[in-house]
Structures are given as C-alpha cells and as structure tokens.
C-alpha cells in the first residue's frame, strides 16, 4: 500500500520488520523483490509522486571542491538528485552496463582499490536488474551481438582497446513503472512525504533502534524495525549517518572516520576526434540504435574501453569512449576546425600515404574516477527546513583521472593507426585532456565504501555497516571504486542481492 506521511498522527510509532529509507532505484528494487516474502516492509520516501521544489530543496548543499559541470553548465548539488517517488530515475538517461570483473580487483597502481566481492557475486542478480531497467539480454559481448542480434562489426577490438556494449533503458521511471505493483502489495507500506532525519542507536552504537521521521510543515513520527536499509544515494546516506551523532559523536558507523570520504564521480569529457577509413554507414555499431530482440526493441551501441592489460600497462583507470558524433569526412570541408592542421589535411595525407578518410568520429569519454580519501561529503553549518545539517561536498580529482583520459585517447589513436583505420586528434587548439574542463555525470559513489576490514570501509561485503548489526546501505554509496560504467545497473544488482540476504539471513 502507499500512504501519505502527512496523515500519520504526530508522535506516532510505527513498528515493522524492515525499514527502507529512500524509494529510488535501489529502494524500489528491494521493495519489489521483497513483496510476498512475508516480511513487513516500510519504505520512507521524502517526496510524493511529483517533483516539489520545497522538498527537493532539502538536498541543497555547498560545493567546496572541484567545480561540478556538464556541458559548460554548473550542476548545483540539489539538482543532481530528485526527492520524489522513483528518485533520480525520474531524470536518468538510462545508460547501462555492469562494472567489469576487473573493476572489482585490487590494482597496485590505484590506491585504495579492491572490492571485498567479485563480479561473480553480483552476476546472479543481473537478470533481475535488467528486468527492472527494461533492458535486453544480460550480454555485453559485441561478438555475441553480431551473431545474434545483427550488430555491425565494431571499428576495432584489440588487446589494448576492447569494444563492449552499452544498453539503454527506455529509460524506466521506477516510480511510475512500479507504483501500481507496489501499491497492491499487502506486506509493503510506502510512506510518502516522510523524511528520515536521524537514526537512533543503542548506547553501544551497535544496533539501530529506530528512525525519526519528519514531514515538511507536518507531523513527526518514528519507525522502529528489525533492520534498516539506507537507499538515498551517495550524498544523503552519509549525511544521515553523520547527522545521527547523539550516541556516536562522529556519526553513526563512523568509528574509522570513513563515512562521507572517498566521494567519487565519473569524470566526463568531450575530447578527441578521429578521421577514419570506414564510411559512417559501416560504423552503425557505434551509434545508439534499436535492435529487435525477443519481440521488442533494445537500444544499444558498441563503445571502447581500455582492457585490463592496457590499464596495467599504462597505469591507468578504467575508461569508456562513446562515439559522440559521427559524420562523413566530406563534411570536414564545412568544419572550421582548428587553426593548425585540419582534418581535411590529415585526410589528404592518409589518401596519399594510406587509405582515404571516409568518416569522422568525435568522442565522449567517461573515465573511472580514482578514490581519494579527502574527496568527501561532510556536514556544514547550515540546517535545512527539518533541522538536519546541510552537506558540503568537497569533490577532488584523483591524479590518475586526467592521465586516464589522455591515455585512453592516445591508446585509441595508436590502435587506429596501427590497424590502418584512421588518425586521432587529441588536443584541439593546444588544449587536450590534461587541461580541458572535466564534467560530471551526477554519479555519486563511494561515501560508505564496501570493505572486508572495518578500518578501510564503512559497510561489509553484504552491505551491512561495520559494527552495527541491523543497518545496511544499498546503492552506489558502497562502491569502493566506480569503474567506467554508469552505476545504476550494478547498484540494482547489489540491491537485489541485499534483498535476498535480508530475506534469507537477517529477517528470517
């Protein structure tokens, strides 16, 4: 059922088996998975069914670190997340690929890398994640897509630069898509307009006793549960933990001073241009287009990534490159280009010394952002309308970030040349990845990182907060590293895995 928190009597106590804070991708995935499990579940959602500015303003926070921009536009913190049913799936673009197996490994050249689980641990949950995001088959090998689904041959796939697939959700708006099914569930109660403001803990801070809930201009009440899941994203999860400081002054679960630290983004950059020997119509694999699979259209495209061998060889992070633009080389004539060598001239050189250029590909790069301890979310001095401290986000780049983008372009250019497929422009007007603006994807990760050892992370391999027996975190806040894939698909799989764990081992 779906209820309105504004109608809960002030001072009420609600008792349940599991309390999920947040009805975004992770919270809805878990609630949906636990339907019919026999467990009583309450989901607290800050907003209603539609966007409301006063509710979303609860997200307002200060950016004190690197600028957060996209396409030359600043991205205020409160606009990057949405506080209403469905959460940020209400504005996501649906880009999906799971983290690569290599992303889970410890890499000697990436400080603080390594997950306590492997990709194999989430693989069983990927089919469910695909179903939730309304994707195609759990298959990202372009070779399989060529054989089964009619994908054209990607431009290249080598020992250093691999072609892999991205799939695109419609994009599924989780709130709209799953509202009806969740409403019908008898053991599930969703409370709208209900903001978690503080977690109460036992004196030893090893057990959460309840969560205080406040409604804007409305009642306040409390929810007590056997277990709690925080599913409010990479900024709000640490905010709530840090604000819950009456028993543990440094914040709940923050004995190792790691809550809020290691905030990560995916650095985005439009850079690089290649003149290619293959005509645009032969490069359709790299354009987003629908493929008819099992009676429905699945949007997908092939992208380039650095192979594990290349990451190790060049001491780089993971890196995905998308064909951001693709057009016939003839259009270079109309391109003012840069003051120096033009694409036309390089194409002419290729015509004299090799194959003629036939197309031009421009690139969008999404890099892994390396974990940095001092990149962090912390509480600021200001309070929101409900009395909860607002956050300050101090995002810092890893020294590896720019190196990775530069390296990715260089290696792609090397492979294009080696295979006689084209030539790469890395710097334009003297400005390349080492100097260009780094944009963000509003992918907030890492602030309650997963670790085996309580001294190096906030949650364990099950998503349970170290030292607290009944508090769990779902979502990309638990990522120790973020790979170069958009986080949603992996976090959905992790949420389903956590739901199964709670169902069989905690709530049972």
């Amino acid at each position: 059922m779906i209820d309105d928190g504004r109608e809960i009597p002030d001072g009420s106590l609600i008792r349940t088996g599991l309390c999920i804070v947040g009805a975004g991708a992770a919270g809805i995935a878990m609630a949906r998975a636990l339907r019919g499990s026999g467990h009583d579940v309450v989901v607290l959602e800050s907003g209603g069914f539609d966007y409301d500015a006063s509710t979303n303003d609860l997200n307002i926070g200060a950016l004190t670190g690197e600028p957060m921009t996209f396409a030359d536009t600043e991205r205020p913190l409160h606009e990057t997340r949405l506080r209403y049913f469905g959460g940020s799936t209400n504005h996501w673009f649906g880009w999906c690929r799971p983290l690569d197996p290599f992303d889970f490994e410890r890499r000697a050249w990436v400080p603080d890398s390594g997950w306590p689980i492997s990709r194999a641990d989430i693989d069983p949950w990927l089919p469910g994640a695909h179903e939730l995001a309304e994707l195609g088959p759990v298959e990202f090998d372009p070779g399989v897509w060529q054989r089964r689904y009619g994908l054209q041959r990607p431009l290249l796939s080598t020992d250093l630069v691999a072609a892999t697939m991205f799939q695109y959700s419609p994009p599924t708006r989780f709130g709209e898509r799953y509202r009806g099914a969740l409403r019908k569930s008898e053991d599930l109660r969703i409370l709208l307009h209900s903001n978690a403001t503080r977690l109460g803990a036992t004196p030893d801070a090893d057990h959460v006793s309840g969560v205080d809930v406040a409604v804007l201009d409305g009642p306040r009440f409390r929810v007590e549960a056997d277990a709690f899941v925080l599913a409010t994203g990479g900024v709000e999860v640490p905010r709530l933990l840090l604000a819950s400081n009456d028993v543990q002054p440094e914040g709940l679960g923050n004995g190792a001073d790691l809550v809020g630290r290691y905030f990560m983004e995916h650095p985005h950059m439009v850079a690089g241009r290649a003149v290619l020997t293959r005509a645009p119509e032969k490069l359709m694999a790299h354009q987003i287009r629908p493929y008819r699979i099992d009676g429905r259209d699945v949007s997908a495209q092939a992208v380039f990534t650095l192979t594990p061998a290349a990451q190790e060889r060049y001491q780089a992070l993971n890196f995905s490159t998308f064909a951001f633009g693709l057009y016939p080389a003839a259009q270079l004539d109309a391109d003012p280009g840069q003051p120096g060598l033009s694409g036309v001239q390089v194409a002419e050189l290729m015509g004299r010394s090799g194959p003629h250029a036939r197309s031009v590909m421009e690139f969008l790069m999404i890099s892994e952002g390396g974990p940095v301890r001092d990149s962090r979310v912390r509480l600021g001095p200001e309070l929101d309308e409900l009395g909860v401290p607002r956050v300050e986000l101090d995002w810092r780049h890893s020294a590896l970030d720019r190196h990775t983008i530069q390296t990715g372009l260089e290696v792609l250019g090397r492979e294009l040349g080696r295979l006689g497929l084209g030539r790469m422009l890395v710097e334009r007007d003297g400005v390349g990845p080492m100097d260009a603006q780094i944009d963000v994807g509003s992918h907030h990760m890492g602030t309650t990182r997963m670790s085996e050892d309580p001294s190096s992370g906030v949650v364990d391999a099950d998503g349970r907060v170290h030292g607290i027996d009944n508090l769990f975190v779902a979502g990309s806040a638990v990522y120790p590293t973020g790979g170069s894939a958009n986080p949603t698909l992996t976090l959905l799989a992790l949420a389903l895995r956590l739901a199964d764990h709670l169902d069989k081992r905690v709530l049972a």
């Binding site: 120096g340 001239q345 050189l349 290729m350 190196h403 040349g417 006689g420 790469m424 080492m434």
Partner: protein, 135 residues
C-alpha cells in the same frame, strides 16, 4: 619571461616525447601541466600557417617546424630508408607497413594535436622539400 614555444609546450605535456620507445614514456608527463591560456597563446603564436596547403605540404610544414634538424632531403631519405634515386611520391604503397609499425612501436609524432606516424610525417616532409627543389 621567456615565451613558451610550441615545442616546449608539447614537451611539457609529454607528447613531444613521442619518439619514446616505450608506451610508459609516452604518457609519463601527467603532472607537468601548463595553463590552457598559456598553451593556446603560445601555440597560436608559434604555429606555422598551413591554411590553404594540401595535406602533404601542411603536415610537412608543421613537422619541419617541430624537427628542423630533419629539414634536408638527404636526412629524410636516410631516415626513411630511401635510396638516392627513389622518387618519393611513387612509392607510397610501401609506406603502409612502415606506418603501421610506427604506431605499434609508439613512434608517433604529435602535430597540432594530431597523432601521426613518424614515417608518414617524414615522407610528407620529403615530398614537400623535393617539390620545393623542383621549383
């Protein structure tokens, strides 16, 4: 203050070290940055004008600006393994495997941001100089 030449700028970025024989050297200069403004101004001030030239002459002009020590047909012929009688413009097919080998060995030159094989840039320079010699 001594102006930052384009060559120096590329060196700072690490991309002028494209003669490096190991990939790690190619990408080693991560922290040696100059500001975008400095880079653009110096790059524009020190760039040979190549507008209106065909691809070979344009690449040759930029290459010889970056590597003036190679501005000799004899030097270029020797570097390319061309004998004295070989007409450069008629032997282009034989360049393709050399170009691919350059990329495989990271023997790549950065010219106005473009990554080209050292061989193709030298070949363009040779053709350009022979055109000039021919008047």
């Amino acid at each position: 203050m001594r102006p930052l030449s384009r060559r120096r700028f590329l060196g700072l970025l690490g991309v002028a070290s494209v003669v490096a024989t190991t990939p790690l050297r190619l990408f080693a200069a991560v922290d040696r940055r100059v500001t975008p403004q400095t880079a653009v101004l110096s790059a524009l001030a020190d760039r040979p004008a190549v507008g209106g030239l065909d691809g070979v002459d344009a690449v040759a002009s930029v290459y010889l600006h970056e590597f003036p020590e190679e501005a000799s047909t004899a030097v270029l012929r020797e570097a390319l393994g061309f004998g004295p009688r070989r007409v450069a413009t008629r032997k282009t097919r034989r360049l393709a495997p050399m170009i691919k080998a350059d990329f495989a060995a990271d023997d790549i030159v950065a010219l106005d941001g473009w990554r080209l094989s050292r061989t193709e840039a030298r070949w363009a320079a040779l053709v350009h100089l022979e055109r000039l010699d021919a008047g």
